[in-house]
Amino acid sequence: MKKYTRREFVKVVGISGSGLFLAAYVPAHGFLTKPGDEPKIFAPSVYLKIDSNGIVTITVHRSEMGQGVQTSLPMMVAEELECRWEDIRIEQADGDPRFGHQSTGGSQSIRRTFEPFRIAGATAKEMLLSAAAIKWGIEIKDCKAENGFVFNKLNDKKISYGELVEEAAKLPVPANVKLKDPKDYKIIGKRVHRLDTKPKIYGAAKFGIDVVLPGMLYASVSRCPTIGGKVKTFNGDKAKEIKGVIDVVEIPQGVAVIADTTWNSFKGKNALSIEWDFGPNVDIDTDAIRKNMVLHLEEDGSEIENRGNLNFDAPDLITIDAIYEVPFLAHAPLEPMNCIATVKNGKAELWAPSQNPQGARTEVAKALGFKEEDVVIHVTLIGGAFGRRLISDWAVEAALISKATGKSIKLTWTREDDMKHSTFRPASMHKVKGSVDKSGKLVNFYHHVIAESITAQRFNRNIPVKDADIGEGTRRLAYQFPNLKITGTIVPTHVPVSWYRSVYNTQNPFVVESFIDELAYEAKRDPFEFRRDLLPEDSRLRNVLIEAANKSNWFSKLPEGKGRGIACFEGYGSFCAEVIEVSVIQTNEIIIEKVTAVIDCGTVINPDTVEAQLEGAIVFALTAALKGEITIRDGGVVEKNYDDYQLLTYSETPVIECHIISNFEKVGGVGEVGIGACAPALCNAIFAASGKRVHKLPVKLI
């Protein structure tokens, strides 16, 4: 039998790594030996290794940014492997195509790994059972795997996984292993404590910004305040006079100051004297962008969906229309953009808090003029991402500075850099028009969405509006509107835009679910019942809506000045409904009393994480609805820190009650599904409490 060295093993899996799923990476034999007397390691998949001490190492190729993948992915392996949970160890994967799809976004981590990670566990278990059967000279059916041991059912003898790895590795990797019946799950669906909690709360966890390399220097970059501007000339003499400043170099993104500490690099940056070429966008501002969108309001827009026959002139209809509007938003994660890079001798090694390490690798290689295989991206823990870290601009900067100086450097963006040079959730305007008849039934529903397309801007692609991202959250609605027309207009704004936790589902559902509320009011119907009656009887969305009404005591009376709002959302393979209870005080102050959320995300891996994601999504969405606004003036971003781009605080956070619908339906995403219903439920509650309808975010009551 051929024994692979570690390097050869990587090569073997690399060659077969053209497909997306685990099966494509399984080598003919899963054995490799490290040099020396290291434990023998059995590696039946690129995601899984078991050593002769019984330690099970799971390679997590999704970035841990708070959503719990470093726990939930191992849970799926452990379920099928029948190992002991305490024997599990984690390795975070570098950015590499051999792991298949690796970008952490779109609430896809669990959905994309549910099959391959269970198969990895089941495959290893099968091979360990075979190894034990051969050893004992019995049939596999007389063996049982449990708690990291194989048991001989005939005589109750047992042998540990660690003792079996050498034999197991010699066996061919079985195809089509049988997976457990969900009713037999012992780990999946249970509240399992996160593996990353202790290091995080003890201050020992290493985020990108915490990585230290021997001899490393610290860098900070001054960038043009206008979008698309660049350096005309600069003078770094004053910066170099500052103690600790070592070098000043120009890169395409701006001027970098290299120093012996982060603080000295910040001081050096402030001492730079730079003349900017403000570029083509110097006249852009929020008002001009808005005016351009307003011009499109009276147009029909390009068709996205058309059902029935919209006719506002039919007799006996009550028809209303409205214009909704949302601003640009920044992700503003607490850990600012940062990256550590060593570029030397034609090779680059980066430590990056990246959601998209394969993308970072491609971009860094391109910027350096290197081959991709000469760029290594180590993925660190991430202090909040929300989509911002899908973009790799900061990784490219770090690599270029390291190349220019020949040193290992840690690039740290200041909070102001992070706020002003983010990539933003697009602003949008919406025209809606709808009718109800005298019996209280919805007859017509029209929605025209006007926004920049992220895909079109970032990939410079001319995408038909029908298929464009701007239609997310208003396309293929579950509501059975008899006559419906959805249209869209893609408007270039020159403001750099990118994906942001649930993207267009932060804006279209706000409009749709708010306007349905307006129509329910016109129809003199209860807004919950109005929605329920528009949803198909057997729909999972209807079910969560009804549950949310039940759990929140929807029909119970509230005192004057208080109100409840309801909304629901379907996306990412999951369903969510939220009821929000608010008080609106006469000074127009809004107090959010309580949020009741019901989620159906199919098969649940870790219910505690599902609840945490739901709670987090609600706070994230409330923050945006109540406070979030990025303003563009003179071609640049006005906001600079958390004082003018505020977040919801501890004391403003309501009681949040989460309910999970228990089933074994197809596994759904949970990171984003809690966002869509939140802003409309809040604004519908504000209407119920005060009679004031919110058409523009962030909420400003007058």
């Binding site: 909690t197 003890y202 201050g203 230290v212 600790g244 977040l647 919801l648």
Partner: protein, 153 residues
């Protein structure tokens, strides 16, 4: 460069840095105590909260010359006693998500509870509302605090 002496996590340390260097960067870059986080640099977000002579302070907004001679406790110092009820309740309720702001949350609460083992809701709100969390873990922080206060009675 000037030399400053201070006590960090009960150990005497000497650092050679410019006198305007914020304590945050001395802890992180000079002493390697990276548990204290940089979030905003202006004392707004609270991620950099440490104890100076027992009081919760924003280390990003205190220059080393003003911290000299004082006793500093960072999250690493607090974690020398993992049995602290704050840690136990943070684990039990799985408060952390990304975890970046949690050292600041925990240090802020630890200072409050040291001074007032049975804080009122207003006192808790005052101590905790200045520590921002972008993942939105506030709801669980509240539950964790309620549990600590309840068990401490």
């Amino acid at each position: 460069m000037p030399e400053f002496k201070l006590k960090v996590n009960n150990r005497q340390v000497k650092v050679d840095v410019e006198s305007d260097t914020p304590l945050l960067w001395v802890l992180r870059d000079t002493l390697g105590l990276t548990g204290t986080k940089y979030g905003c640099g202006e004392g707004i977000c609270g991620s950099c909260t440490v104890h100076i002579n027992g009081k919760a302070e924003r280390s990003c907004s205190i220059m080393i010359k003003d911290a000299a001679g004082k006793s500093i406790t960072t999250i690493e110092g607090l974690a020398e006693n993992p049995d602290n009820p704050i840690f136990r309740s943070w684990i039990e309720l799985e408060v952390s998500q990304c975890g970046y702001c949690q050292p600041g949350q925990i240090m802020s609460l630890a200072a409050l509870l040291k001074e007032k083992p049975k804080p009122t809701e207003t006192e808790i709100n005052d101590a905790m509302s200045g520590i921002l969390c972008r993942c939105g873990t506030y709801h669980r922080i509240r539950k964790a605090i309620e549990k600590i206060v309840e068990e401490g009675k």
